[in-house]
Amino acid sequence: MRTLIAIMAAALLVISMGTAGAVPDTLKLSVDEAKSLVGLVVSVANPAKDIESMQMPDDPNFLFFSATWASPAGEPMNGYFGVNPATGDVWDIACHHESNPALRHAQAEIKKRFALPTREYKRLSALKPIC
């Protein structure tokens, strides 16, 4: 009986995860955690960056951030980034998938912490923001 309940619970979890937005909150990063991942992307070349949370109303499955810096001559935008709250994957505004050693390390920790079934992890990791 206990095994049956466990199987049913696992099945319900998988069914409920049709989109990144349907992932239970306990298996999602907080806004601050996601922001720190964007920091790992932009801080490589921008030591004093400013990162702020923002909304993309037509794309509720990702957490979005703007990164700015006080450029004296050029535009002050560093970029916009969408973070998959279930996997920690980071995409820029045109769906360029961000990657560097520090980010990959952090993502490995997230994968370990949430311990999603492999198939689900792969599916969620492949999701892109609207771009």
Binding site: A45, N46, P47, A48, K49, D50, E52, M54, Q55, M56, P57, D58, D59, F64, S66, T68, W69, A70, S71, P72, A73, G74, E75, P76, M77, N78, G79, Y80, D92, I93, A94, C95, H96, I130, C131
Partner: protein
């Protein structure tokens, strides 16, 4: 895939942008002898489709232009308060200000690659704090401009 099907969220985002800003972008593009999709693409990227901190809430700075600039209605500051960024009445004013400020860099460049590369090579867009180029800037502009090019055929 039908690029004109607004049921697709990606199409809807591009087509709505064209509906709202296409005429103003076309006007500025014609003056600069560049393509409408380049102006639309850069504005979408720089403003995060209107949701970025310098465009939303009526600020209407779709090209991340500094203050002072022509046609600006005022300014906001960057998060650290060190740089003033212009605000505008609407997209058309913002696009005209872009043309005045940086039009000389992109005049006669219909290709998205040379359009974006010229802006980056001049140090105006896609530059990191350490002075290096943001590697994804040019490909990003090309990608989004291409998305507009495909959907401008949908008609208005």
């Amino acid at each position: 895939m039908d690029n004109c099907d607004r049921q697709n969220p990606r199409n809807a985002r591009y087509l709505n942008w064209i509906d709202m800003y296409g005429p103003a972008a076309a006007s500025v593009a014609a003056g600069l002898k560049t393509s409408e999709e380049n102006i639309l693409g850069l504005s979408a990227i720089e403003s995060a489709w209107g949701q970025g901190p310098f465009a939303r809430d009526g600020r209407n700075n779709f090209f991340s232009l500094h203050y002072p600039s022509p046609l600006s209605t005022g300014f906001v500051t960057t998060a650290d308060g060190k740089v003033k960024v212009s605000t505008y009445l609407n997209f058309a004013s913002s696009a005209k200000a872009f043309a005045v400020a940086y039009g000389h860099l992109v005049t006669g460049q219909p290709s998205a690659h040379t359009f974006a590369a010229s802006l980056q090579n001049a140090g105006k867009y896609g530059i990191n704090r350490d002075g290096t180029k943001v590697p994804s800037f040019v490909p990003d502009v090309m990608s989004v401009a291409s998305g507009f090019e495909e959907r401008l055929k949908c008609g208005r």
